[in-house]
Symmetry: C2
Subunit: 152 residues, 2 copies
Amino acid sequence: METGTETLEVGPAAADSWALLRSLFGLQRRRFLIAASELDLHPAQAGALLQLGAPLPMNELAYRLACDNSNVTGLIDRLEARGLVVRRPSFDDRRVKHVVLTDAGRELRERMLEHVARPTPGFARLTAAAQLQLAGMLRRILDDDPGGIDIT
Amino acid sequence: METGTETLEVGPAAADSWALLRSLFGLQRRRFLIAASELDLHPAQAGALLQLGAPLPMNELAYRLACDNSNVTGLIDRLEARGLVVRRPSFDDRRVKHVVLTDAGRELRERMLEHVARPTPGFARLTAAAQLQLAGMLRRILDDDPGGIDIT
DNA sequence: TATTGTTATACTCTATAACTATA
DNA sequence: TATAGTTATAGAGTATAACAATA
């Protein structure tokens, strides 16, 4: 419940902050779509590539992309046809297949990250101290929410 | 493109904050996709609806969704067929058509917003003072970036 | 000449249901 | 029985090129 003496409540200040965050999300989404287009990736393909920093079972990928398992089959089919990923059967559970990036896939993922993992220019207007504070707040917000999933 | 040659120096604290922000983007993207699915909207349709807080020319919509004009034609066709929007010719420029929400469209947009415009639960872990600070920093970051566009 | 919106085409995404092979 | 992945299908998204109307 209350972890401190201060009021922990989603008040008007939070609504304000969240509206601003949504604007930032919008900017980042545009960056993501433009980057994907420049690399000849459909948005869903680009999103999948970003998820694959480590090998992932098909169904985990479906969960992260908030889509049905059957979509992932076709999605991975096409990435595999382009030589960006391979399917690797699991040792533990013979129903499961892990999706693994090839060298080409890793390279393309890196180029995607160059576009989306760089902070927006506006970030430079914060002092180093403010940036540290910001990081602290974000860590607090994200704490034990279901997984730091980077989609964009 | 914003990946121009003038690289402003953003320190490791900014990179850290940005990584955390991207995790938050990912969570919000999932919320958005699930909300759209629950309201029987394809992600692109849900995104368009959110843009239409005020009437918008077709090409402006295409810009905000980072897609081609021709996509918007079909997208709006389907929303119009569902009675969610109407096309209204512009007075100033007879080539232009504005997209306007109907009452049903406005109502559905409100329901979308109920899902995505509410801060994540983790927000409650920030004190009111911290929430105000956060809003201030975000305003600074967004200042004179190209438009507060809320996609998700 | 350039721009707005449309059409036509080809490919990809997405949800649903039915199927298989494992568990 | 339940789950992971596939297939088949239908409807929607997306990029490209070509086009008519307007600027």
